[in-house]
Assembly symmetry: C2
């Protein structure tokens, strides 16, 4: 006689046209303590409550120049034309993101291992970490079309098989973020609520969803309820600012009709105790340049 | 022998694919003085310099309720279906604006004659005034698509035959304007620069341009130059706030992915010494519900 243990999915999603009800998260947001890294106890408590932390002057102006030059170099690199790691804007063909950028840029690889970055990631997640995803993003002036509200964790759970929201993102601004040029909006505290996504995942969803979210987004009812409950903050600040944000925080961005572009370096750290399994709500996992399955701890 | 006097057009526009160079405006912005109305000398000087003035608590909360109810009533009025004064959102069919609203709402007609409004309009324009255009606007949550950068005066000059920028708009917010829900962005000081519009005006341009600006917008080069020269401010504030802004100020708005809608009452006052002539760059004038030719001074 054989027995099968079916572990309950704590974060069910994409179960049909009408999404399931919002779920109050049981997992913590901050897994480490003051002794584990650069954040003091008050900063950790604020991060636990709000789900994000903004640090101005996180990198120096000369570092901003260095990574901006890397972004320009990669965007112009003809040998990367047609590379699946390079995502272009639907309407203009301009380069919007370059994924797995630590494999393409020694400077950005070094940044991901820099103690300012790595020690904070380890502290927030309370363990060794690895890179789940990295990219540089470029949102041009006039044409940036923004992203609808979503939780990254919803996608990483559904399509990548990430078991729990024990991952954290670090977005480092390479250009000023104004309130009006399409910067990230977050709902502070929303990381405590898991809003299941609408619909079911088609095969190969990622090739279109990176340009424009269509499946897996929360319902308008859930976004409305959460916006009234949590309010909306914006990630504003000069170039060199960093936003650390929980994998489950509800976030999005409007379009950008101003001439001021936005670019950033984006790194997702996942706990080595939270490595990927089979996707929870998709037929096949996404490619490794979007969701790495190399779980080697970052040093 | 007959002679013909050809008066030079100080504000040429829509002369072809490549717009003419930006023109420094010679006409003043503030035509009256402290003795003429509610604005004191410092407020007038600030308005002259910046091209706009924000007044919080311009109307009371109960007035906000009153005009909001009028907007709902007009949007739901089946007898107005198909009325050219009612503009609907391209993608959803939802009511976006109701023009000539003073003819449809006694309450809003009275508001346009209220001393708080009328005395300021007269003071800024230094003469009696009439209503060039009025409307109520409703930008829904999630779906509001915004407006690209433009100068209202460019359109009023080109398509309505308004000779000079001696007109002022008053926008009264009926909902909170946050930095992130698609509120108006203005370039402070840009009213001193006239940026000619791109292209030539097709017949009946107004029926599409009210939904989405396509002709008469400034070039990206002009917007970039002006954004760097003047910067960008946003009209934020609680419901009941008023924005008074010069007819030539460069303004626009992004989209709105938040659940928070925006609605406002919008009134354009023109000086009776600046009444409409033939259009300067269009084959025929726009309809009267968009550009009134009843120049009777408002009392």
């Amino acid at each position: 006689m054989t027995t099968t243990t079916i572990q309950q999915d704590l974060y069910p999603t994409r179960t049909g046209e009408v999404p399931g009800p919002a779920i109050e998260r049981e997992h913590p947001t901050v897994w480490g303590s003051e002794a584990d890294g650069p954040f003091d106890a008050a900063a950790l408590e604020a991060h636990e409550q709000r789900g994000f932390t903004i640090l101005e002057n996180f990198i120096t102006p000369s570092e901003v120049d260095l990574y901006s030059a890397e972004l320009r170099r990669l965007s112009a690199d003809q040998s990367l034309a047609g590379d699946p790691r390079v995502i272009t804007e639907k309407s203009t063909g301009a380069v919007r993101s370059v994924f797995e950028v630590t494999a393409l840029s020694e400077a950005i690889d070094a940044l991901s291992r820099d103690p300012r970055v790595l020690d904070r990631a380890r502290q927030l997640l309370g363990s060794d970490v690895y890179l789940h995803q990295t990219r540089v993003n470029y949102m041009p002036g006039f044409k940036g079309s923004g992203f609808y509200w979503h939780s990254d964790f919803e996608t990483w759970h559904a399509e990548d098989g990430m078991p729990a929201p024990r991952a954290v993102s670090c977005s480092i601004a390479l250009t000023p973020n104004y309130p009006y040029n399409g910067g990230l909006m977050v709902m502070p505290g929303s990381h405590r609520t898991y809003a299941p996504g609408v619909g079911e995942t088609p095969a190969d969803n990622h090739s279109s969803s990176l340009k424009e979210q269509t499946v897996g987004v929360p319902s308008q009812e859930a976004v409305t309820e959460m916006a009234h409950r949590y309010g909306i903050d914006q990630f504003t600040g000069p170039a060199g600012s960093a936003l650390w944000f929980d994998s489950n925080i509800m976030h999005g961005s409007g379009n950008n009709i101003t001439p001021f572009p936005r670019s950033n370096v984006f790194m997702v750290f996942n706990s080595v105790e939270n490595t990927l399994e089979d996707p929870y709500a998709a037929p096949t996992p996404r490619p490794e340049h979007i969701a790495s399955r190399d779980f080697t701890p970052l040093r």
